[in-house]
Point group: C2
């Protein structure tokens, strides 16, 4: 029989699946579009779930509503979007030869086959539960579904001690949420820092301070060993300690949900996710993959990466629909851009770190700059610290990490745009960005970072990172760590081992300083630190390097 209407079957009805279906209906009014999902809770946003637990909204069904308050249920998709959704329906087996999928209606147990011309895998991710004792105990759960969010919310009423395993995005958001809900929160992280795949240590250290400031017990470099309890979790045991727990949130990461694809012989990539080409086609050209089950290509390195995010899932869905609908489009890859709020601190990042760049044979340079997010005399301005990474030879921008209580996402988004379009640091320095005191500075931190980087690349400014200075201090190297702030600032907080000579007095004190010893000046943000370096250099001191980012960017203890 001649098929006139293209039959599109989509497995998974959350972000990528629903986006594919909606866009495809708009492109093709005649297509037979079906979405199947194992659960009832289709088209929900997982990202806002920590804020439900935090208490920022009361109705968990908000995560399934449009901005206008309409529930995105089966009827919504049928009436408004014009396609059918089968919920509580599991895909059991893909028969690629026949182009059919064996499905089971979970409520009736009935099994049947659905044919397809094009199949879309949008099966999402599954939280990783480490294979350690106690993971099965009641009170131990990940946060992925609405039901899990409700269960965590319920447990917050019953206990007072929460342990979070893993200090990634969800782990940190849950640390905030559960602290705000009044629980004692311990975060257990195997690595020596939070957000290890997103931030360098010196930037992550600001998050460490913020967690401690909010009484979160942050345990770094501390692998989990087991979870204990009888009919409910009572204790978490790590390599270093034992922590009481009424609730354990397991947030060590997610893996792509690919069993169905794997069983059907669809090729998985090096990350374990479904391998796709630029058109989001799997190894079977009639089967596409989108969202958290699909592999991505890193835009800069061309390496395969697995960075499951709702923002990418939505873009994937549109690309898949365009390709099925005959409007061929490639997905260009990702930069690993992300943002996260941790109490009063904001974090955003995009592109590569210096270490990432070295891994693929590039020659990176980085710089750390601290600044206020907008005019220092406009009320409400707050500091931010920005790390910029560029390639030395081409001077092209590779990445940025921005952390602080101020506005960070704007800066990271400008850098993401600049990287995508191949901008050099020299172009960044000249960008005509919007300026007015309530929004930015005449020279934004982006311009300041670009110019500081140009000075560094051009040999006009020599600097040391905070990490390098800390090493000098720890190794008891002979150098002068020169605090050039005012006595009032010095009285408020100091770095141990530093000598105070306020910048205004420096020219008068030059003879007090040894001409051949390394001098490392710094201030609050290191604008004055850089000035001090210039004064010293112009007075004949040859071995001067200001400390990048100043005391604001100092990731270690201050007195």
């Amino acid at each position: 029989m001649l098929q006139l209407r293209q039959r599109i079957l989509i497995i998974g009805g959350v972000a990528a699946g629903m986006k594919t279906a909606c866009r495809l209906r708009r492109l093709d009014p005649d297509a037979d579009i079906k979405v199947i999902d194992r659960t009832n809770n289709i088209s929900y946003g997982a990202c806002p779930l920590p804020y439900y637990i935090e208490g920022l909204y009361d109705d968990i069904y908000e995560v399934r509503k449009t901005p206008n308050g309409v529930l995105r249920d089966e009827s919504f998709f049928a009436r408004i979007k014009g396609f059918e959704t089968l919920t509580r329906t599991e895909a059991l087996k893909i028969n690629r030869a026949d182009k059919t999928v064996l499905i089971r209606h979970l409520d009736s147990g009935e099994e049947t086959e659905l044919g397809y011309d094009k199949l879309v895998m949008a099966t999402g991710n599954e939280p990783i539960m480490p294979p350690l004792p106690g993971m099965e105990l009641p009170g131990v759960l990940p946060l992925k579904t609405m039901e899990q969010a409700q269960e965590i919310d319920r447990l917050t009423h019953e206990g007072k001690n929460a342990v979070i395993i893993g200090a990634g995005l969800i782990g940190l958001e849950m640390a905030e949420a559960l602290s705000v809900r009044g629980l004692n929160v311990t975060v257990i992280e195997m690595k020596g820092q939070v957000l290890a795949s997103a931030l360098d240590f010196s930037m992550a250290a600001m998050v460490h301070h913020e967690l401690k400031r909010h009484k979160v017990n942050l345990c770094l470099a501390e692998p989990l060993e087991r979870i204990e309890g009888h009919d409910h979790v009572t204790t978490v045991v790590t390599s270093k300690g034992t922590y009481p727990a009424d609730l354990v949130v397991v947030a060590v990461g997610v893996r792509p949900a690919v069993q169905l694809a794997k069983d059907a012989g669809i090729v998985l990539g090096p990350t374990g996710a479904i391998a796709v080409n630029a058109y989001m086609q799997s190894s079977d050209p009639d089967i596409y993959a989108a969202g958290d089950c699909a592999e991505c290509t890193d835009f800069l390195s061309n390496k395969k990466v697995y960075v499951p995010l709702g923002s990418t899932a939505n873009k994937h869905g549109r690309v898949v629909a365009n390709n099925i609908g005959g409007r061929y489009e490639q997905f260009p890859g990702i930069l690993g851009s992300l943002a996260v709020k941790v109490f009063d601190l904001h974090v955003a990042r995009t592109g590569m770190s210096s270490a990432d760049a070295r891994l693929i044979g590039l020659n990176p340079e980085s710089i750390v700059v601290s600044a206020f997010d907008y005019a220092h005399l406009y009320p409400g301005n707050k500091p931010i610290v920005m790390k910029l990474i560029v390639e030395r030879t081409s001077r092209k921008i590779l990445g940025a990490q921005v952390v602080g209580p101020g506005v960070v996402d704007k800066r990271a988004d400008v850098i993401a745009t600049a990287i995508t379009l191949g901008a050099s640091v020299d172009q960044l320095a000249q960008l005509d960005l919007c300026y007015a005191p309530p929004f930015s500075n005449a020279m934004d931190v982006l311009h300041q970072a670009a110019n500081a980087m140009r000075n560094k690349l051009d040999g006009l400014a020599e600097s040391l990172s905070s990490v390098a200075v800390k090493q000098l201090l720890d190794n008891n190297e002979k150098f002068i760590f020169l605090d050039v702030r005012s006595p009032a600032e010095h009285a408020k907080e100091r770095i141990k081992g530093a000598t105070l000579i306020p910048l205004g007095a420096l020219r008068q004190k030059l003879t007090d300083l040894p001409i051949n010893t390394l001098i490392v000046p710094f201030c609050k943000m290191s604008l004055r630190g850089y000035e001090a370096q210039l004064i010293l250099q112009q007075a004949g001191f040859r071995n001067v390097r200001y400390m990048e980012g100043g005391i604001l960017g100092w990731p270690y203890e201050v007195e």
Copy 2:
């Protein structure tokens, strides 16, 4: 006599002049650098002055302080920056043949000559005072200097009626400032909208509503005729009315301060500002110009423009210093990016409008999209309306205007970056921007605008602007203006002339609608308006065009 040290003379010690001097000292420790300024108040920020009057900070000298609270006076520049500043020193005449400048010390009256190897004109701007009766009256003044800000502040204590002439950046900031200080504020604008050089009418109309909401008496298309009073201003007279005034702020614009350059035979450009090449050199290669006295090139059109802004002045200063210091650098031009806050409304724009684009022979397309600035269920999110302009053939981005109570500057800065780097709307749609609920949506308004534009360019979505729909209404054209929001939303506010059929009921009511008449569906933001169009088109209705931006972007009265 052999000159070993390069002599650099800079006329004007505010943003561009001081930036030139500071950067040059860093590049050249030996240069003889002198800055002269007619006033005492060097290195001040003019942009924050309205916020002094508003009462957001108490010490006006804040505008001359570093973020660390150090006053940027002559001693600061001498001790920290390492160059000499002569204040209360006027440049009377440039002798280009001898390379000298005749200067007068205003306090002593003494005149002397200063030689230069390179001269930098950083003479800034002067406020335009229209040649109309009464401009000389006490109580009538522009806002450029700290002294004028203090005088306006003093006058706010004495009167209760303020009239602002001109609805540009300063006019609008002063409307907010003086309203907050409790005065009755009237804004007189010759043109039919505020921010006429920055925004299209439909975007400016949101500012009109905001001003009215805050009881500002906004008088558009109303040329000033004269100002009346005896020993102090009492009345402002326009073509349409008479307004009591205890204080008149004249904010109709500024012109470049170029008399000195003109007298010396330096070429002025078509805008009246000093003509410069890409290296910021004037017609005399030993004389540079920077900041508000210098002409700029529009990056997109290559046309000469005059857009004096502190952000540009700082970049100019650095480029001039680099060139004098032997590190040759071009200034790439500007996009006319700017931001302004008007009460609770934020405005940002960059690049060209459709009208700008048509003027230089391009074929522009525009679209208006409304959205929340971040996740609708994260507290504090607010709507924004974005107008995106692209070139039809190349699909390159030309400009954007973003207005709303939400975060607008981030979106305009991304667009400014994208324009600078030659991005197409298709690249914009795929940008990997930072996503988390407190910062953005999984599909940011930037992505939504890009995709809506692609649909429009690809013939997938036909739409009408609010201005076009208003014309249909005003001309009593036969069409169905279809409000597809919920009855609850409709009860709250409505556009006159629209018929309500909620989106969910539309499929059932199709037979009530005439198949050949133009139907214009809309909703709050026009996502549902677009859905309605698709439902109608897929049901055979051929003449359907949704209204862009929805009721949020409707610039006229609502009921």
